[in-house]
């Protein structure tokens, strides 16, 4: 009855605090060890894991049905995760930390690839697992490469596009100066000039990287760790964005825009220019849209020529804990094959194979493909670093502070540099 001697108030406080403060405790992670050397020749049924398939054509089901028809003894089962990227990441991480063999081939959002590779959770695609990257768009391969080794096959990519009102400006601008020079048209029509995704979330990292990359700046060196962002080029890039926001060329409310809000502003005719992903094309051409047939798409604007898009999309990787890695490798190769990529492109997901962007049948269906090809050809992957969440946070928090005026552009860029230096410690 030792409990009797504890003051009652202490007990009461402790029990209440305990009940209310239950926080997630992740189990300790240790490295895959030699899991990377096991089951290399295993064959049999496998599981493919990806976030919710939102394509109208049901791309994943089509891909798997076709594979399964040809491989009766190596059937693929689709494990569909939620639509939320953070949950997808955490679900994969939990399975891999526990070294479970239930996930054989996993779709990784582009910026996670380095982290999963460095944790030893995914199989390097070399030796018997090597894939032919020659027909693939070079930046997509770079996004799946960590420390000089390819760790995943780019499955589909994504690039930013500049949507512009072709009824108001006849030609798409190629540079930021050209674009902002046309803002008078927006003022004459009483609409906003330019917007992207500037709310403090991953979208702001993407938008900031694009403008900094367009002006020749970069974030981390080839090693994925050394920060390189504190440069005159980066400052020039961020300054363009910040000045446009301060002058009102980017409307005040754009600092609250994510993809959805920015898309509805454009669709309701309130913006002259918008940076967004290709998905908006079909949506803005629907009957409900006020800008149906009144807009065009172009590659993102740059400094002296076309700008640099950030790459989105998914990479397919083989789990280090898979029992059937040989089958998994075949399935990964199948995903980047011409026939699989046709299915992917028909579902309005940008393909990783360069040749499909010139396919007349696809261009007829998706007229933005030539602009997208140009955008992706000059694309720069997001910083390839195993500490991506911290790096992304350093970029977005400082860019946000520069936009809302609590920090100067120079301080913000210096802050990004310092933030990236402390990432991973």
């Amino acid at each position: 009855m030792a409990l009797k001697f504890v003051p009652r108030a202490t007990m009461a406080a402790a029990s209440i605090a305990l009940l209310t403060a239950s926080f997630a405790s992740a189990c300790s992670s240790d490295n895959g060890g030699n899991a990377l050397d096991q089951n290399l020749t295993g064959r049999g049924p496998i599981t493919y894991v990806e976030g919710k398939d939102t394509t109208e054509t049901g791309v994943v089901k089509q891909l798997i049905d076709r594979w399964n028809a040809a491989h009766p003894n190596e059937q693929v089962t689709f494990k569909e995760q939620s639509a939320d990227a953070n949950q997808q990441h955490d679900d994969l991480a939990e399975h891999f930390r526990a070294k479970q063999d239930g996930y054989d081939v996993v779709a990784l959002d582009v910026p996670w690839t380095a982290e999963f590779a460095a944790k030893g959770w995914i199989q390097p695609l070399k030796d018997t697992f090597a894939i032919d990257t020659a027909p693939l768009l070079a930046p997509t391969v770079a996004s799946a490469t960590y420390n000089g080794t390819l760790y995943a096959a780019p499955r589909n990519t994504n690039g930013g596009l500049l949507y512009y009102r072709k009824d108001l400006v006849p030609n798409a601008p190629r540079t930021w100066t050209e674009m902002l020079g046309q803002c008078q048209v927006a003022r004459d029509n009483n609409i906003g000039c330019y917007a992207g995704q500037l709310a403090p979330y991953e979208g702001l990292t993407v938008n900031t990287s694009e403008v900094i990359n367009a002006f020749g700046g970069s974030f981390v060196g080839a090693d994925g760790k050394t920060p390189t962002v504190n440069s005159p080029e980066s400052k020039a890039g961020l300054k363009v964005l910040v000045d446009a926001y301060k002058s009102g060329d980017i409307p005040k409310e754009a600092i609250t825009f994510k993809e959805g809000e920015s898309a509805s502003a454009f669709e309701s005719g309130k913006l002259l220019f918008l940076r967004n992903w290709p998905y908006l094309y079909a949506q803005a051409n629907a009957d409900t849209s006020a800008v149906k047939d009144k807009f065009g798409v172009a590659p993102l604007p740059g400094n002296t020529g076309v700008g640099a898009s950030t790459l989105g999309g998914y990479n397919a990787a083989i789990s280090a804990f898979s029992k059937n890695k040989a089958t998994a490798a075949d399935f990964v190769r199948y995903l980047i094959s011409e026939e699989a990529q046709q299915i992917i492109a028909s579902g309005a997901l940008p393909s990783v194979r360069a040749s499909l962007y010139d396919d007349p049948a696809l261009i007829a269906k998706m007229p933005y493909l030539p602009a997208l090809k140009e955008s992706i050809a000059s694309a720069v992957p997001r910083p390839v670093t195993p500490f991506y969440p911290a790096v992304s946070k350093a970029i977005q928090d400082n860019a946000y502070a520069a936009l809302n005026g609590t920090k100067s552009v120079d301080d913000a860029v210096a802050g990004m540099q310092k933030g990236i230096e402390t990432a991973g410690s």
Partner: protein, 325 residues
């Protein structure tokens, strides 16, 4: 003919038997608590003294961090971040730099929302306690905000507070409710008060209803005004129920996560401690464990103060309550 020593012995035996039975009934609960609460808390404390895994520069692969001493704690409390060049003050854009501001925001939200909810809840409870036509309807209607899941509430208020949303239209303003420092804090507080005042009101109403009517009658006979009756009878007799309600809500508010996370996502001016913990889990779970432990200690300290100083007691036995009354 009484035998005092025999009675004492019988009493002792009874007590022992009863306490034995009590332990029998309590043990399963204690075991369950140890598993679902004790284990995670102990595990979090152990983790908090270990370094997060870092990159081996030679291989580019993660390696275990090893023992960390107190460095995970100094990281938060002193806002020290590691770099290759040594320890520096955490720069903007790191989670470490947001610790004290998150503590401030959490405490600010707690004090403001709990005070507002206590005052409004008291008013609502007094109205609901009166007898009038449609009372049942009113009580049901008051409960609606509490019945809506918090995530849904947060989305509703997020839509209303959008730049072209209903709030700006009705007020004729152009305020960035999810982005401006104070506007966003106000938005979160408004949503929280709307959602949880009914809970407060119900707890207080329960307290009101145990106050016997004859006390009021006696006061009336003695010529006390309505205000005097409220201040000298209602409030003192309501104190135990009110304090329990405040205690519950304070604990709740200190771990606020969902409302700001959904309504003002990523905005540093509404980042609470729980949001910081969840963000840190993705960057390094051991450091997040230290932050959880700090949060736990903070919640504990505040609960202790409320229980000890104000005498709020949510776990008092009926017996004690009878004695106290």
């Amino acid at each position: 003919m009484s035998d005092p020593s025999g009675a004492k012995q019988r009493g002792l035996a009874l007590e022992l038997r009863q306490s034995g039975k009590a332990w029998l009934f309590v043990t399963p609960v204690l075991v369950a608590l140890a598993v679902v609460i004790g284990y995670p808390v102990v595990q979090a404390i152990i983790m908090s003294f270990q370094k997060d895994s870092g990159i081996d520069p030679a291989t580019g692969m993660f390696v275990e961090g090893g023992g960390a001493g107190l460095s995970n704690y100094t990281h938060w409390l002193l806002q020290q971040c590691n770099t290759l060049g040594g320890v520096v003050a955490c720069p903007t854009g790191t989670l470490g730099s947001q610790f004290w501001s998150a503590v401030g925001v959490t405490l600010f939200f707690t004090v403001v929302t709990v005070s507002l909810e206590a005052v409004l809840g008291l008013g609502m409870a007094v109205v609901m306690g009166k007898t009038f036509r449609g009372r049942a309807l009113l009580r049901a209607a008051v409960l609606i905000p509490w019945a809506i899941p918090t995530a849904v509430t947060a989305r509703l208020w997020e839509f209303m507070f959008q730049y072209d949303g209903v709030v700006n239209r009705v007020l004729g303003t152009h305020i960035l409710w999810t982005s401006d420092v104070w506007a966003s804090r106000f938005a979160v507080i408004a949503a929280d008060v709307w959602k949880t005042t009914p809970f407060m009101a119900l707890l207080i109403l329960a307290g009101l209803q145990v106050i016997p009517a004859d006390v009021y009658e006696a006061a009336k006979v003695d010529g006390a005004s309505a205000w005097q009756r409220f201040v000298h009878i209602t409030l003192p007799l309501l104190k135990p129920a009110l304090l329990v309600a405040v205690l519950f809500r304070t604990m709740d508010a200190l771990r606020m996560y969902d409302l700001p996370a959904i309504m003002t996502l990523g905005n540093p001016s509404t980042n609470t401690l729980s949001i910081l913990v969840v963000e840190q889990v993705r960057q390094g779970p051991n450091s997040a464990a230290a932050l959880s432990t700090i949060t736990f200690l903070l919640v504990f300290a505040i609960a202790f103060v409320l229980v000890k100083v104000l005498g709020a007691n949510a776990v008092r036995t009926q017996e004690e309550q009878r004695k106290a009354n």
